[in-house]
Amino acid sequence: MHRASDPQQALSACANGDGEPIRVGFGLRAPHYDEILKRGIAADFAEITSENFLGRGGRAYGVLERVRSEKPVALHGVSLSIGGVDPLNESYLSELAALADRIEAMSVSDHLCFGTFGGHYAHDLWPLPYTEEALQHIVQRVKHVQHRLGRQLLLENVSSYVEYRASTLSEWEFLAQVATQADAGILLDVNNVFVSAANHGFSALEYLAGIPRERVRQIHLAGHSDGGGFLLDDHGSPVSDAVWRLYERALARFGNLPTIIEWDERVPTLVELETEATRARSVSNAWFSSSRERAPEQP
């Protein structure tokens, strides 16, 4: 497979905030495959759902080859179940490691949640109790996964609708502790912070302030909807204005990070998706331009 220039280097350069324009991308989705095969994508990089490409061929793999020949590609999983008590699926990890190596993935990420029970897969991102026991359990599993992959794992905060009474840490404290103790990275989903803050009544800004800035490697943006008494993280609409504003706050704290638009329901045209990614670039560029005009931030 012919590849574009070293994606890890590109990611690092961007994460260091060296003045390059922000790298924006979006998740590849099946309705766009035919068009992508014809003309590629208009974005800096792409993200794929790992499970849709493990051990597979055909059109999906053709799309991956097409995109990877021109752009870096990030692997984003949904079935690792890093917080689950079922044993980690070692054959899944082997396939994931092989895919990451084969495409020289820009990053490998999954969610801080559990999604397995009694040997079965929920195919959902179930929330964890934020306890010391869960923390130690997950830190060990993250270390194991990173050893198997031979690289750092990025953990994404999930949106949630319920909290456990047993939790002794806030979500951001838990995420920060896992990342720090396991030496993992963080994929900060700004929409998920917004949704969970609304659903549980905590401050999204306090959440951002509690995340160690040196751990955050990427940002996710997506749309949500009003579920009637709660916000639903359905990835079925454009990013809301409120989330764009929170994104600016995230940029202020974490720097000019690679940003991915996720869109899974009521998927728009490829051009509309690319336009949404371009908006992330514009928001970032505008924020950094105006911040340069303001007094420099105190360290």
Partner: protein, 273 residues
Amino acid sequence: MTLADLQRYFATVATSTSGPPADIDAIFVSSARLSASERLGIYNRGYHHRLLDALASVFTHTKFALGEADFERIGLVYLASHPSEHPAVERVGRLFPEYLRTLDAVPNELADLATLEWARLHALVAANPSALESAHRIDPERFPYSRLRFVSSLSIHQVGGRALSLFSQKATPSEQLSTPSSSTADRAVRAVAVWRKRYRVQHAVLEELEAEAWQLAASGASVSHFCELFDSGAPTADAQHAFRVVATWFEREWIEAIDGSTLSSPDPAETSA
């Protein structure tokens, strides 16, 4: 409660088809806006919706033929007894065709149709062949003693003719299924090959001899061995028949490798021809 206890509790509530347990407020936080059981209900609906949606995306024709309500009712019972065992969500339908076959209320044609749709999914996602064998590289002297290796997307199934009609028509109302078909073609069970050629999944009915020959070849029989099946006592016609079948396999890109018979390198003259 331990982490394992809490996860078991959550999974039980999130996957349940009955109501929430009485002690749910002792485990999860409620608020003025939403009770704990309402909050868990979001996960419960999400779990069933997502898996049912995955089934429907694979078995689109089966769903159409069954009707939406029956598909949902049958699907939910299936999912309760066959939860997902694979990281990829669409694999949750692995046992759905066999499950349909056990249901008295579901005509066999629909189990056949589901079998065909599952085979097409298998072909769609199968790994790419490492290479495709070209008939140009066959060493004619050794070919009869060689063995064929087939691409992993290829599978052959016994499918009733009615299921093939349902797949191609797309628009057969479910009530028509209760009417027994009088057509001989519809009643006949055929061997159907399903495979992927580049990005396109295809299926085709095989003649009986071809299906037997494929079965022998796939089990490791040599070319000369499976070609004996075509022996009807008319050597020239039989040879032509066998040749046509094997040539079709190459043309359909079924052959990943020929063990023990290819030339060491492509003939430049043939390659450029």
